[in-house]
Symmetry: C2
Subunit: 305 residues, 2 copies
């Protein structure tokens, strides 16, 4: 049932973590991999991200029964074309991209003779590159699988079992719904974090040194996700444009309403809004999707008793 | 030089932490305290937040040579009036409020016969109340002191030494500049976090369960500060209105520019913006204002080597 040979194209945070996870958790599965950057390939060899690091993508996919594209959304099509003639018949094609409609289209066009079942593990850190990955990245995280309308159920089951073996919980949804859900839980937060960190850098009345110094007042929380990989995030926004713009419109309306409440001194509106947002955090902690410790458990707090 | 008796009015996260810090780090200084809530006073006794928990604010300040108001900005004036007739002559008045012009005015009007030197320790967690405080909250954090134009230098030096004894680094600035700096490093981030968590709660196409489930994509970082005390934050926005609205205007302009870049498919603008925000995070980590570990050190990551 499980895959005999997984090929990973792109050995950054996601690709490297998949390689390490397979090596640890699926020891009978062979792994090979490729990265466009020779420096990254050298690091991949040094860290043992996959059993065999190849000098071409075509070499990496030879004999594979699952290939996972772990490149930025905008590079999926080209990466697919590079393996087109080398990909074994019947090899399942998947990916880890953060937007799914655009990626499904790009991989489908590049590899018309193969079944493509896109996937998106909702897991990551602000680090990127071949040194960022670790075997437990997917543990207790959700992996969203977005199969096409007509799909081979055996292949779908194998892919689901693969992600579950890596520690993830799998959810199936349409690519359209995925793109809407992720627009609000991931893409909009990143866009806003990138924006405010930029805004704070451009002020004339407040120095950059002051912004850094007093960042513990809240600002520093935003800088973590604004340190994420710029290439990947450029591609995410361009490839999930409609859903991001829709969510951004909602956000702007809500921000304008709170802005108005501040301007007119409407304390009740502010208080009521700030009260109901607490429940969301509580739910996230209860469902194991964040750390309950104060301040994310930074430093050595000894709050409470 | 140091204070003989510190009275703390309001025994929440800040007041409780000051009490615990004084007891640990300035054992020769006596501490007394008061909180409006009988339940909070009982918890303060149980946790030993101060040596003596009093049933009235007037009783708590009797014999004090420093009183620190640790109540929400909007409650400062009333809290000051409650001790007006009990406050010993020569007792220095300070506070920990997140906005300084409004608080300086409120305390100055309530206690016209006493020197008021406002202060703001830029330290906190998303927790509030008498169980949230801990002795090391201020360690390696900045405390901004905003003395009036005419100030007794001896009293100012004593207050600075007090905060340094609690582990903080002290910076002196005008209340006006403080309010501008904190508007960008603290108030705007909180407003935005409160907004997006609200936006995500109100969608029809995406369920609240989905928002919670997939929050690891970035959203969960915002929920931490959106879980902060609603009363305090209502008061912060109302008491630092002008600076917050100014910063919000800047943020909205920048967000609109990125929105336009997404709409027209201008990848270069996005990429360039996302690249420069990385440097800010690096500086914050270098200056010891945040944890360098991936994902804030959540869970048990073993990234890198």
């Amino acid at each position: 049932m499980s895959f005999a040979h997984v090929a990973i194209i792109g050995l950054g945070l996601q690709g490297g973590s998949i390689g390490l996870a397979v090596r640890e958790l699926l020891p009978d599965t062979r792994t090979s991999g490729y990265d466009l950057s020779p420096a990254h390939r050298a690091r991949a060899v040094a860290r043992g991200l996959v059993e065999r690091v190849c000098d071409t993508a075509a070499e990496a996919v030879a004999d594979a029964d699952l290939v996972i594209f772990c490149v930025p959304p905008g590079a999926m099509g080209l990466a697919g074309e590079q393996v087109r003639h080398a990909l074994p018949a019947g090899c399942l094609v998947s990916d880890v991209g953060s937007s799914k409609q655009a990626v499904a289209k790009a991989l489908g066009e590049a590899l018309p003779d193969h079944l493509v079942i896109p996937a998106h593990p909702v897991a990551g850190t602000e680090n990127s590159g071949p040194d960022a990955g670790f075997a437990h990245l997917f543990r207790n995280r959700w992996c969203i699988v977005t199969p096409p309308a007509k799909v081979d159920m055996v292949q779908l089951s194998r892919l689901v079992a693969f992600w579950e073996a890596l520690g993830a919980n799998v959810e199936i949804m349409t690519p359209e719904h995925h793109d809407l859900v992720l627009a609000v839980t991931s893409h909009l937060p990143h866009l806003i974090a990138y924006t405010i960190v930029g805004t704070a850098s451009d002020l004339e009345d407040v120095t950059q040194g002051e912004v850094i110094k007093y960042s513990a007042g809240g600002f520093r929380d935003f800088t973590r996700i604004a340190a994420s990989d710029p290439t990947m995030w450029r591609d995410v926004f361009l490839s999930n444009k409609e859903a991001v713009l829709t969510m951004l419109q909602r956000f702007t309306e809500d921000l304008t309403a709170l802005q108005r409440a501040i301007r007119v001194g409407d304390g009740d509106t502010l208080f009521n809004h700030f009260t109901r947002t607490r429940a969301t955090r509580r739910s996230i902690i209860e469902e194991g999707q964040d750390d309950a410790r104060a301040d994310f458990g930074r430093g050595d707090h000894d709050a409470g008793e």
